[in-house]
């Protein structure tokens, strides 16, 4: 459009953009460069009074309040809480008049049709937005970067997903996803604590009034606050502990240049590579090679087993292949019976005979495998536009390592990685992309009203309108 004439492509309608992530939920106005609200996707809930608290208020210790997640697997699992949370922010924080603007909601690529239906129906039912749109998160990210053809590698809290985007539309069949991501790293940290620092007591921040710095294995010296309410729930404690792990991930981890082996382990265990981390109770722990090993684990999950049974059960081996539900009631032929003979025929020659190996794919293998499944005509352009995003991608040296490994694995392709330099932009990239998308003049013809949804049918809208 811009090449022929200089038409300004934007048309601002200040739509609401909602990006629910597994760790944080982002809400804001389209056309902004940053979300107005970034809030944890957790809420505090008191079972007897049935009161819930959203936002950063959940970090305040209160008696009997449980911390519960709203999302599970990057999909809303607790819809009552989700709707309460959204209403809270829409009405109390942003004070929006629903009828004035439509809403754009991002969704991951692995949502099933039924889950998508629930999203749409819940929004039509509980909010009076004139129209809505479900945008795939990788599509949004491609819009944020302004690259219509790209491979989006989103290393988030819950999942690592690799999605090719062609002409701004995500290709679902070629997408891959594993759970070797932020949460996995937290669990690795937890595991490390259990094995390496068995005598460590992780006292949460809210308990501590004053502290003196000590170094493990010396006992921590701190005084406990006296006004702590009674009956603090276990889930609250756990949540607070997660925050410590989160901080440790942010400050300590570093990706080694190569897989850690016997050869280079010496280099990484040097004193110069050691870092201290001060826990909330003033006790410091020192991590040397461990901080490299932890970061290495998302590249090579096979070699990093949990010692704790509970944790190792949480992660099964994952190849990253998506299970796509093909519930297509509309077009199931009813009249004619299928010919049985067609089933035992040989597969079409185009599919190269690849053995499906049940293996665990680390980050590099995941991307490389995704590249190899993409149509050959697109592969070169997609390999040249790999977008790295998500909070975990901010671990130092991660992109460098990825680049080196990918170029070594794909000598025929010219690999180029794109990662936004600004760290907060990288974390909120999908939201920003949604903001870009919903301020485009041409996009406004894509909004779907409730009437249209009911008229055309959920399947049609979900498959052809929400691309």
């Amino acid at each position: 459009m811009a090449s022929t004439s200089n038409v300004y492509g934007g048309d601002e309608i200040n739509a609401i953009v909602l990006d629910p992530g597994s760790l944080n939920t982002r809400i804001g106005y389209a056309g902004d460069d940053f979300p107005k609200v970034i809030t944890p996707s957790y809420y505090a809930y008191e079972p007897t009074t049935k009161k819930s608290i959203f936002g950063d208020g959940i970090n305040v210790p209160r008696s009997n309040y449980e911390i519960k997640p709203i999302m599970k697997d990057s999909v809303v699992s607790d819809w009552d809480a989700a709707i309460n949370q959204y209403t809270h922010y829409f009405e109390n924080d942003l004070k929006i008049d629903y009828k004035e603007q439509p809403i754009l909601i991002t969704e991951p690529i692995w949502t099933s049709t039924s889950e998508r239906k629930t999203v749409v129906e819940n929004f039509y039912e509980h909010f009076e937005f004139p129209a809505l749109y479900l945008a795939r998160a990788p599509t949004c990210i491609s819009f944020q970067q302004g690259r219509p053809n790209c491979l989006v590698v989103d290393i988030g809290h819950n999942t690592v997903s690799v999605t090719p985007v062609i002409d701004g539309i995500s290709l679902i069949k070629n997408s891959l996803r594993t759970h070797y991501s932020g949460e996995y790293l937290s669990d690795q940290l937890k595991d490390l604590f259990l094995t390496k620092f068995p005598n460590l007591t992780l006292d949460n921040k809210f308990k501590i009034r004053s502290k003196e710095s000590t170094k493990y294995p010396d006992q921590p010296k701190f005084t406990v606050r006296d006004n702590i309410p009674e009956n603090i729930t276990q889930s609250f404690e756990d949540y607070q502990q997660e925050l410590i792990f989160h901080e440790m991930k942010e400050t300590l981890l570093e990706v080694p240049e190569k897989l850690i082996s016997e050869e280079n382990s010496e280099y990484y265990s040097k004193d110069g590579q050691k870092r201290l981390f001060e826990l909330p109770n003033g006790q410091s722990i020192e991590l040397g090679i461990e901080r490299f090993e932890l970061a290495d684990s998302i590249f090579d999950p096979v070699n990093y087993h949990f010692t704790n049974k509970q944790l190792s059960d949480k992660y099964s081996t994952e190849t990253g292949n998506l299970v796509i539900d093909t519930t297509q009631e509309d077009y199931r032929p009813l009249k004619r019976a299928r010919k049985v003979e067609s089933n035992n025929s040989t597969p079409p020659p185009s599919s190269p005979s690849k053995e499906i190996i049940d293996e665990t794919r680390g980050l590099t293998q995941l991307i490389s495998h995704a590249l190899s499944t993409i149509d050959i005509d697109l592969r070169a352009s997609v390999a040249h536009n790999i977008i790295i995003t998500g909070g975990v991608s901010l671990i130092p040296q991660l992109t460098e390592r990825l680049y080196n490994e990918l170029t070594a694995l794909n000598p025929g392709l010219k690999i180029r990685l794109h990662a936004v330099g600004n760290s907060s932009e990288r974390v909120n990239q999908a939201w920003i992309g949604g903001s870009v998308l919903s301020s485009l003049g041409t996009f406004h013809q894509m909004w779907v009203t409730k009437e249209e949804y009911e008229e055309a049918g959920a399947d049609r809208i979900l498959n052809q309108r929400f691309r």
């Binding site: 048309d11 149509d375 013809q445």
Partner: protein, 558 residues
């Protein structure tokens, strides 16, 4: 303190009469600015003195501009509702709000008439409507027959090839057998057993017959074979679904294939094939179908497409070593190309050297004395030009190197002759210069009368007859020898040759004789010259050699 003050202090009278008009203008300027400026700014401005810049530094126009703008009314912006999908004038689709520049009343009228600005960008691809089920079935039957026929043809072709192959093999076999038999025969002839040979020959005939029968059997088998279809059949519903997707995703095949959820697993090529062939039939049955379009639709070949992709795949699977090798080959090829180009350039240079004026016109115009004079002057000019060119391109004073090639042509080359003549005359001149000793000046004559040769040598006398002498005293070691006036590269190669010959030269770059007496210097100069000529000759020889090699390889002699 102004510049005037400075001048006053220094007691310098300023010439004021020269520019009275200018001063007036300045004073008027000072008047306006003086009012405005105060404090430091005035002091600074004063430092400029009378040399006020021609451009007024105070941009007063801007200030008034803002004031003017204050007075005008701002253009109104209106929050206006719009319906992006609706036809003009109708109320349908979603109602959204955006800010538009302009008054409310005006905009409302306009918006009713005009469609949404960005609506024009929402275009659809032109896809034919799918026909009804009956015609579709008809098409499919036709397609199937067509496919069958094609496959038959292909199979026949394959069979033909197979047959040919078999026949060849058989012939080969028979020949070998025969050879063996002949050997046997030869052996047996020696042993004198002729009977068995006859029997064997009969057997051979029988074998051939059997082979023919086998072949016939095979053919029958082929005909019985049902033409197998690898892919599941396309139902009307599935095709309708495909057309629907094609329309929704504007023929972006990668996306269509991605969103294609049907119980049959189809590759992207399957989808393309089905879509294109059905489209082809639809257009063909349509009376106003575009024939070129139909032809284009028929051109899609699934097999070719999959093959293409497989080739591409293989291309990408190259190992780094293979890629590196390929690259090095490409570089080498490029180097060869460059060398060939260089050779060509040199050759053409050589040819221009041999160039002579072509006489395309009749000779009659040169028959008069005037004509002859013209011709002479023309040739002279051309000759001069050529000389210049030669000097600019190649400094080496080699004689025109290809007398053989030149003389091979029947005509006598004038320009070549002139070159040769030039060279010869040059040589003669040099000789004359060297022989110039014999022409004696008066002083010399006087001296030679009094002194013998031996004396002359003892006194170190030398007669500069025709040599140009630079005034002043010159050391012989720093004497500018004639042989040294060459290019740096030539001198370098001369140096290496001298080193190879183990010549005793002074150390370093200045390789002059250690004892620079007149004689040694003269000898040395001679040596240098001969080395340079030698080098030139060698270079010429190399060039010719490579030429010969090139021609040989072109003619396929090597």
């Amino acid at each position: 303190m102004s510049a005037n003050d400075v001048l006053d202090v220094l007691n310098i009278q300023r010439d004021t009469s020269g520019q009275p008009a200018k001063k007036k203008a300045k004073t008027s300027n000072d008047g306006t600015t003086g009012l405005r400026q105060s404090g430091m700014a005035r002091e600074l401005y004063n430092l400029l003195g009378p040399n006020t810049p021609p451009v007024n530094l105070q941009n007063t126009a801007n200030n008034t501009g803002i004031k003017d703008k204050w007075k005008t009314k701002a253009t109104p912006w209106t929050l206006q509702e719009f319906r992006p999908t609706a036809e003009p004038g109708k109320e349908e689709g979603v109602k959204l709000y955006h800010w538009v520049r302009g008054a409310k009343e005006l905009l409302q009228q306009e918006s009713l008439k005009q469609p949404y600005f960005f609506k024009k960008f929402n275009t659809n691809v032109d896809i034919p409507e799918l026909v009804d089920e009956k015609t579709y079935d008809k098409f499919m039957v036709e397609i199937k027959e067509h496919v069958k026929e094609e496959k038959k043809i292909q199979r026949q072709k394959e069979k033909q090839l197979e047959k040919e192959r078999k026949a060849k093999e058989k012939k080969e076999k028979q020949r070998q057998e025969r050879l063996e038999k002949e050997k046997l025969k030869a052996k047996e002839a020696k042993e004198g057993k002729k009977k068995e040979v006859k029997e064997e020959e009969e057997e051979d005939e029988q074998d051939e017959k059997e082979d023919d029968e086998e072949e016939e059997d095979e053919e029958e088998d082929d005909d019985d074979e049902e033409i197998e279809d690898n892919e599941p059949e396309w139902t009307y519903e599935e095709t309708a679904y495909l057309f629907d997707l094609c329309k929704a995703f504007e023929l972006k095949w990668h996306i269509i294939h991605d969103r294609y959820h049907h119980e049959n697993e189809r590759s992207q090529e399957d989808l393309k094939e089905q879509f294109y062939r059905i489209c082809k039939y639809i257009y063909a049955n349509d009376t106003n179908g575009n024939p070129t379009l139909i032809e284009g639709l028929g051109a899609f070949s699934k097999i070719k497409e999959t093959e293409r992709k497989q080739y591409l795949e293989r291309l990408l699977r190259r190992t780094p070593a293979e890629i590196a090798e390929e690259e090095s080959l490409v570089i080498e090829a490029r180097r060869f190309e460059l060398a060939a180009k260089k050779m060509l350039v040199e050759r053409s240079n050589l040819l221009t050297l041999l160039d002579y004026p072509q006489s395309s016109q009749s000779v009659s115009q040169y028959q008069s004395s005037q004509g002859i004079a013209n011709l002479y002057s023309n040739l002279m000019i051309m000759d001069k030009n050529q000389k210049k060119r030669q000097q600019s391109t190649a400094v080496d004073p080699i004689p025109p190197p290809i007398p053989l090639a030149a003389s091979s042509s029947s005509r006598k080359e004038r320009s070549f002759q002139t070159h040769l003549q030039q060279y010869l005359t040059g040589l003669v001149k040099q000789n004359q210069q060297q022989n110039g000793k014999h022409e004696m000046s008066a002083v010399q004559a006087l001296l030679t009368k009094r002194l013998s040769v031996k004396d002359e040598e003892a006194y170190g006398l030398h007669y500069h007859n025709n040599e140009k002498l630079t005034p002043g005293v010159v050391l012989r070691s720093s004497q500018r020898l004639h042989g040294l006036q060459q290019r740096q590269s030539v001198l370098k190669s001369v140096n290496t040759i001298l080193e190879e010959l183990d010549m005793a030269t002074a150390a370093g770059t200045s390789w002059k004789p250690v004892m620079p007496t007149r004689k040694t210097m003269a000898k040395y100069d001679e040596l240098l010259r001969s080395v340079i000529t030698l080098l030139d000759l060698k270079r010429g020889r190399d060039k010719l050699e490579s030429e010969i090699q090139l021609i040989r390889s072109q003619k396929g002699l090597e």
